[in-house]
């Protein structure tokens, strides 16, 4: 019995670790899509931020400067996206796709030119990374059955960015539904004309949303390369930006459901390694690929309206043109 419990705690622990970048990217996407800007470029921003953070941490030796660099790169990419989709009223999907390629190409190219390690950044030492934090009393409570164990394994012992990700959920819920800014943000994604008529700047609101998006996804990318791993490697975002986008749709653009869906997708990810080679009664061995594809399949089933309906913010993806 105790063995199963320990296993379960460990699985949940890796679930949390794997869900963090998803949560950050998903919330990032939430701000931008709620404001009416579709962001297919989350994947590229994660990748770009991961690279910048690792490169900066390796050169400067400080994870905090790495974090700043990660957010900075995400901000630059958001700026390109903003100019293309807000000022030039271009196609947001195309801009996002371009940003994803840009990140994929530039990170490998610059990584090779700067560090000559086949696209890897130098291995980071412990003080160049974000390290696990032991929460108060975790050490003392470690031996208390169940509660102590959960506290020690599951809640304590993560790095600061993990806690940031989990705090970002209630903060987002509050900002979105309880503040004036949140009201305007939701309105600009549903009916930008109404805000324009009320004398507010649609463009500025959307830029604000893009800035928040960049900060969150920048933290997510930083987490990948200098908290979860000890350096950047090629294409390390590995589709997480797309999974986050899928999670966002799955969560119907709401923060708390977003957390749950990201944890679910993180859990599936964690189970991938556990289920290898295990034979189940009736169905037999489950192929790793089936579990890998599950988040995508689930999202498609949801999108097709077979389990509830996902309706995007109404003005999402449409550039706003003031009447002349």
């Amino acid at each position: 019995m105790m063995q199963y419990f320990n296993d379960l705690v460990l699985i949940f622990d890796s679930t949390v670790r794997l869900a963090v970048p998803l949560i950050l990217a998903c919330l990032a996407g939430l701000y931008s899509e709620r404001s009416g800007i579709v962001d297919i470029g989350l994947e590229g921003k994660l990748l770009g931020a991961a690279f910048a953070a690792a490169a900066m941490a390796a050169v400067s030796g400080s994870p905090w400067l790495g974090l700043l660099a990660g957010i900075g790169v995400a901000l630059c990419m958001s700026a390109i996206h903003g100019i293309a989709s807000i000022n030039l009223k271009g196609d947001q999907t195309i801009s996002g796709v371009a940003l994803n390629f840009l990140a994929a190409g530039l990170t490998t190219f610059l990584g090779q030119s700067w560090f000559h390690r086949g696209g890897f950044t130098p291995q980071l030492s412990a003080d160049q990374r974000f390290n696990p934090i032991t929460l108060p009393f975790a050490e003392q409570l470690k031996d208390v059955p169940i509660i102590g164990e959960i506290y020690w394994e599951l809640i304590s012992g993560h790095n600061i960015l993990t806690y940031v990700a989990f705090i970002a959920v209630p903060v987002t819920a509050f900002v979105l539904f309880k503040t004036r800014f949140g009201l305007r943000l939701r309105a600009v994604g549903e009916n930008p004309k109404a805000l324009d008529t009320a004398g507010m700047s649609v463009s500025w609101l959307r830029y604000q949303a893009l800035i928040i998006t960049a900060v969150l996804v920048g933290i997510g990318g930083t987490y990948l390369s200098i908290a979860q791993s000890a350096g950047f490697n090629n294409n390390m975002s590995a589709g997480r930006g797309y999974i986050a986008l899928a999670a966002l749709i799955f969560a119907k653009w709401k923060p708390w459901p977003a957390l749950l869906v990201c944890l679910l997708f993180g859990f599936l990810d964690a189970m991938q390694f556990r289920l290898q080679g295990i034979k189940f009664p009736v169905i037999g061995e489950v192929p790793v690929q089936a579990i890998q594809a599950l988040p995508y399949v689930l999202t498609i089933i949801l999108l097709a309206g077979f389990i509830g309906r996902a309706v995007a913010p109404k003005a999402s993806g449409i550039p706003y043109t003031k009447e002349r």
């Binding site: 801009s95 190219f109 030119s113 797309y242 749709i249 690929q289 089936a290 594809a293 498609i300």
Partner: protein, 365 residues
């Protein structure tokens, strides 16, 4: 005051795309310069690598073949108002269709095998694109999201099929059993010694045929007219009695079948077997090609040749200038999509002003 004067046709069709591409290359050059390499020297190596000798040129045409198919796939869907980002997955799944007929009838002469591969691959690719089309038409799921998701599902599905089912016992690398030489699509070098040992094969001619086919389909048939109507103005299409759901599903299936020909080129022509991740980004290049070529077969052909030259030249470049990796091309690809696709208006607005002023002075004087 802010009335926008439309640009002359030649500016819209030729000058603007060229300026956008030049801009993409200029920025690419600046990036190369910023890491301390000489971009002009790089361009020199690339041109030599892509066109300077027979087998290099053959490789260029081989890549061009892939990009024409993927570019046409994106273009065709685009005319019906859809953004198909799925040629990558559609081509990958089509590889399964190609290898199934090839291995079942292994040893059959290529003259019979080639059309069979085209049919089987085409059906598989069409099927993989049809589902997102169906979901868009009947269930309202957004085609961009579903085609992206289908790319990922294709990776998992094909990964399983190749490593667990097709891989013969005792083989280390992740690939299927080989197709016999007689059944493979013949290489052009068998007819033209010029191409030396390059992989360009008969599928290249199929790509040329596909270019004419798409032109005919889009601009010379009733179906193409309905497709463009739907793409330009869905409301008008509905009033004209065009069934949008049928158009969407048919167009997506055709688009997938075009993307599928990448698999014929690779699996049936070059490798002679199904290899893990054989598409290697060709489907995504199609997106850049379609935007750069303005979804017109002539543009697609030119853009494909440019990207084919970039890919082959990039290979040469990586040998000659170790400071530059081939990924620089992905960056160029991104900049091309950005400037010709999303930021197309950046140069258009100043050009419009310039031409408006020019016309005024010409008219007044």
């Amino acid at each position: 005051m802010s009335v926008r004067v439309p640009l002359p046709r030649w500016v819209d069709v030729a000058l603007l795309p060229i300026l956008n591409v030049v801009l993409a290359f200029l920025i690419g050059g600046l990036i190369v310069l910023s890491v301390g390499q000489n971009p002009l020297e790089a361009v020199g190596y690339m041109i030599y690598g892509a066109f300077g000798y027979g087998s290099g040129f053959g490789y260029t045409l081989y890549y061009t073949t892939d990009f024409i198919f993927a570019g046409l796939a994106v273009s065709l869907a685009f005319h019906a108002g859809m953004f198909n980002i799925g040629p990558e997955g559609q081509a990958y799944v089509a590889g399964l269709g190609v290898i199934i007929v090839a291995l079942l009838l292994n040893g059959l002469h290529w003259a019979l095998m080639f059309p069979l591969m085209i049919t089987a691959g085409g059906l598989f690719g069409a099927f993989w694109a049809f589902i997102p089309g169906y979901l868009q038409a009947k269930r309202g799921s957004h085609i961009v999201i579903t085609t992206i998701l289908f790319n990922f599902i294709a990776i998992s599905l094909m990964g399983y099929v190749i490593t667990k089912i097709l891989k013969p016992a005792g083989v280390d690398s992740d690939e299927s059993a080989p197709i016999q030489a007689i059944s493979r699509v013949p290489q052009l070098r068998e007819f033209f010694a010029l191409f030396k040992n390059s992989p360009v094969n008969l599928t290249f001619l199929l790509a040329i045929v596909a270019l004419f086919f798409v032109y005919w389909l889009v601009w010379r048939t009733k179906f193409g007219y309905a497709m463009r109507t739907l793409g330009r103005n869905p409301t008008a299409a509905r009033y004209a009695g065009i069934s949008s759901s049928r158009m969407i599903m048919t167009t997506m299936a055709l688009s997938g079948a075009l993307a599928a020909m990448v698999a014929v080129n690779n699996v049936g022509g070059v490798q002679g077997r199904l290899i893990l991740n054989f598409v290697a980004g060709a489907g995504f290049v199609g997106v850049a090609v379609a935007f750069m070529g303005k979804a017109h077969p002539v543009g697609v052909a030119l853009a494909s040749l440019l990207f084919g030259a970039l890919y082959q030249g990039g290979q040469e470049l990586a040998f000659s200038m170790p400071g530059i990796t081939r990924e620089m091309i992905v960056t160029i690809q991104a900049l091309v999509i950005l400037f010709t696709g999303a930021m197309g208006d950046m140069l258009r607005i100043p050009l419009e002003k310039l031409f408006a002023r020019w016309q005024r002075t010409a008219g007044g004087g």
